[in-house]
Amino acid sequence: MTNPFEEPDADYSVLRNSQNQHSLWPAVIAVPDGWTAVYGPGLRADCLASVREHWVDLRPSDVAEFLAAVSR
């Protein structure tokens, strides 16, 4: 059996967790706790493009916290 995480022709989803981290996830496997599907299911290439588009925030999540705390 092939590894469902590395199947170029299978459908994938993009998941995101509360830390705004993104993950490519095979559509055939249930979404794990703590993650939400934010894109797909769709082609692996499209999912990767979506991750690149949405995960551009280069701030460490600590810095986002800091900015929220100091913007008065």
């Binding site: 939400t36 934010v38 701030r59 705390a69 100091v70």
Partner: protein, 449 residues
Amino acid sequence: MTGRDSSPTPDRYPLASQQQDPDHVIRSSKHTFSSALRIKGELRLDALKGALDDVVERHGALRTRINYGETDEGEGYQEVLPPLPVPFTVHDIPVVPGRSRDEIAVDVHLGLCDELIDFSVTPSLRAALYRFDDHDAVLTLITHHLFGDNWSSGVLRRDLAACYNARVSGTPHALPTPFQYHEYASRQRGFLRSEKADTVRRYWTDTLSDTGMYAMPADRPSGPDGLKSPSAVWDFLIDPDDSAKIRAGAGLNRCTAYHVFLAAAVVLAEKIRGSSDVTLLTVNNGRNSKDFQDSVGFFSSMVPLRLEFGTCKTFREIMLLARKSSMDAQRNLMTLEDIIPLVPDLMKPFGDPQSMPFAFNYARPPMASADIQFADSVEPVILPDEAPAMYHRGACMWGLTMLPAGEFRCVVEYEPDMVDADTVDRWGSDFVNLVLAIANTPDRPWRDR
């Protein structure tokens, strides 16, 4: 257009850049704005309750519901609900032996600093009245940061006073009709798509492309997460005499106290890090359009100010450079959320575990004391020692406030795990000395500091 009142679903408006929350951070219920007001004299509870409702009716931001659109993958939006009553509770404060009313008022304020408010609660205003007796009480107000900021707290106090006085006297108030926050959000979206915005983006790219945000060096790296210790505070009150001199010294150079503080901050930064090219993260009140001076909402934003002062000779030249840099930024105002993608390396120094992210905030009271009066007298409750209200791990926050009486208070909030109290005390003292030197002896060469 059909009448808004008969419309079954509220109108939808875009979110402002300030309200976007990709990291799920701003929406936290701990990001609140609170005020505590000591009210003396006869107070009519019905009029106060009515005035709170009037304020929510005036300011749509306080009855706004945000949908981040994350579950349905759509774009986030906000909708403004019809007027809603403000939750208002009244409590009688028991006599506490050995504690004065002033001390108890401070306790009430401190308790308020720990209160939470969910961002999805509407209206985003909750009030409580703590009564010592019929003629002496503390009123507390709390809103979520997504619908307010420092300036808004002042607008809220003024409007509450005017609405209360109008109800008691039976004569209408003379408050200006405020522009609504959703109008700001829509204008900002429009601006970001405009040609003018491209000019502004070029300004920020040119100004910041080869620099990083200034961060304070830590004495040691931060410990593992989960071992958080409470933040510590260095608090210094500049006496009324010196505060007046700072204002006067700034005025002689057609500057404000803020420019003196900025100049002192960059000279201190040079002393600590050795570079005369300093980019400070500053808090901006975001009211660059006169239209929104009377509005409540999340207008404030973080703005990077870069001062390259290697060629300056005197304190005065740095003060003037601070004024120029701050005016240029004001003319090209754009939120940090919109600047960061243009200059991705800007925030890198904040990720260094040996450094403490640094932010510089100067807050003036936006309303004169005379504008917030009702009953016999109303005064904000001032904390004798600034509480670490804005704690964040590994951060160094440099705050300057002008108290209602005109003195300046300098508050440095920091993480004791990363830096010794002695180090912060040295920085703080150097800063205050620099402020006084710049204001009083502007012709001194800064390298002699």
